[in-house]
């Protein structure tokens, strides 16, 4: 009898845990295992705010905004899109930077977007939001990449600091093709690391992937109020583009 009860309760707990995933997808289980192994995670849409368009009709430039600053002392934040051929979007250290990011990504089809945020107790919080898209409307996708002056603009950066009362917002953009290498004849060519430094210390190392849209734009929020920053964009071809703000 006890055994039966135990069996039933385990069954109920396991199904209710499973049911907590707000957006089911066939790849979520494998992906999260690949990224965090056997570490503990909980679904936490309450503390992780994710914003995406109601409908993303330009699938190569889909704006996303993630704000997990409700999770105190977050150590690390990882974003991935379940159904993208390149699921991983960003992996950032968030001790001196807030777990906040705004950027544009590419989506191959309708997909959930996840934000994994590691708290100070070693538990990952998972935020989820579905991105609806099939490409279309009046847009013909990806016109921007056909710039013949490509070499002239490569690595050109633009940025600005916006002071807020308890933090600084950094807006930065760089001209880069962010080539996935998935199209026949094209080699992978994308920014894979961004570092942000203030006068004397490293604030964050941010790993990026080619799932981020071409000519990427970012908003980061740092927990200090320095007057200047140095941002380096490194790509997989060994280029190091430096920008001083």
């Amino acid at each position: 009898m006890k055994l039966l009860l135990l069996f039933i309760s385990t069954f109920l707990i396991s199904t209710s845990l499973f049911a907590k995933n707000p957006i089911e997808s066939p790849t979520f289980g494998d992906l999260i295992k690949q990224i965090i192994g056997d570490e503990k995670y909980v679904f936490d849409d309450e503390n992780i705010q994710i914003k995406v368009p109601k409908f993303a009709d330009n699938p190569v430039q889909v704006p996303i905004y993630v704000n997990a600053s409700k999770i105190k002392d977050a150590k690390r934040m990882i974003l991935f899109a379940d159904l993208n051929p390149i699921p991983r979007v960003v992996d950032m250290q968030t001790t001196k930077i807030l777990p906040v990011i705004s950027t544009n990504i590419k989506v191959a089809q309708e997909t959930p977007l996840r934000a994994l945020v590691l708290d100070s107790k070693g538990i990952w919080h998972v935020g989820s939001k579905n991105i609806r898209s099939n490409g279309g409307g009046c847009d013909v996708s990806s016109q921007a990449s056909t710039n013949s002056d490509f070499a002239k603009f490569l690595g050109k950066t633009k940025g600005k600091i916006f002071e807020k009362k308890d933090r600084n917002r950094i807006k930065a953009s760089i001209f880069h093709p962010m080539e996935t290498g998935l199209i026949f004849g094209n080699v992978e060519f994308y920014i894979n690391t961004i570092t942000i430094k203030n006068d004397n210390e490293l604030i964050s190392t941010i790993k990026t992937s080619s799932a981020i849209s071409e000519n990427p734009r970012f908003i980061f929020e740092v927990k200090d109020n320095s007057k200047s920053y140095k941002i380096n964009f490194l790509d997989n071809d060994g280029n190091d583009f430096e920008m001083e703000l």
Partner: protein, 300 residues
């Protein structure tokens, strides 16, 4: 055996049936009509019937302005015109290159289809892509659609078609090349997508400053009736000012957002003027506009 054949044909026909657009021509005056497109986004339910089309019956022929989102729509439009007149549809205008305005062209094989050089080129280069997008968006209703590139270059400022005179204004802003057709005789102006009447403006290929300039020019025309590209017809110039207000608001919102360092979604969460929020499709269209246009403003 005959019955079986009958059943089989009936069965096949029931599947081959085109999407029913329930097209209704609305009379503007004795010889001028327009067909009102729903103020919605493309969907399987509306078959892409979201833009207005219009036609003028002249002494010997029919002039059609835009052909809708699909060949199925255009065929049914033709049937509707047939109920009013037997005169041949000889002349067609494609006012700009957006798929809800030209994808019906293929239904008019013998007509002279006018468009500007830019519009012609875009239809030639991207037509197939527009169709595959349309299949995604409206499904079945787009299956019979094929591209037909305009076959007559629109250049003159005044056209005489079977002795019927029309004035052509070459403007831009909604796209890189928009055409406005003015019928002096009836004082009807066909403003195409430079005007959205109480319907949020669509801006995927827009240049806001050019669009405002085009609308200022449109205001100088002495018209009695204005046929918008989307939304109902209008009988005064107020509609032009409303569109200018919308565009200026969009422009200043984007400019201020750059100065304040806002994120796309922070712009969308702001309080927007009440009168604009009352426009049909405001939420969807305003979001699309901000998403499409903000990077350009950020890079300036």
């Amino acid at each position: 055996m005959k019955i079986l054949l009958l059943i089989i044909t009936a069965f096949i026909f029931s599947f081959a049936n085109d999407f029913d657009y329930k097209i209704k021509a609305i009379k503007l005056n004795e010889n001028s009509y327009y067909v009102y497109g729903k103020e919605e986004y493309f969907s399987k339910e509306n078959g892409g019937d979201i833009a207005n089309t219009a036609f003028i019956i002249t002494k010997n022929s029919v002039i059609l302005i835009d052909t809708g989102s699909s060949v199925a729509y255009a065929k049914q439009l033709k049937e509707q015109i047939r109920k009013i007149t037997n005169k041949p549809i000889k002349f067609i205008f494609n006012t700009h290159h957006h798929p809800d305005h030209f994808l019906g062209n293929y239904a008019f094989k013998d007509a002279k289809i006018f468009a500007t050089d830019y519009t012609k080129e875009d239809i030639k280069n991207n037509g197939e892509l527009y169709i595959s997008n349309m299949v995604n968006l409206i499904g079945k209703a787009a299956y019979t659609t094929k591209v037909k590139v305009p076959n007559s270059l629109l250049e003159e400022k005044e056209l005489i078609l079977d002795r019927y005179k029309l004035k052509i204004l070459y403007l831009n802003g909604h796209t890189k090349s928009d055409v406005v057709i003015y019928d002096e005789k009836t004082k009807i102006v066909y403003a195409s997508d430079l005007i959205f009447n109480k319907r949020a403006l669509a801006t995927p290929h827009a240049n806001l400053q050019d669009w405002i300039k085009a609308l200022e020019k449109l205001k100088t025309i002495d018209f009695k009736i204005l046929v918008a590209g989307h939304g109902k017809v209008s009988y005064d110039k107020k509609v032009i000012d409303e569109n200018i207000f919308y565009l200026k608001y969009l422009h200043s919102t984007l400019k201020n957002a750059v100065n304040e360092g806002l994120d796309t979604f922070e712009i969308l969460e702001k309080e927007h003027p009440k009168e604009l929020q009352d426009y049909s499709m405001f939420k969807e269209e305003f979001e699309r506009s901000i998403i499409n246009l903000y990077p350009k403003y950020e890079n300036q």
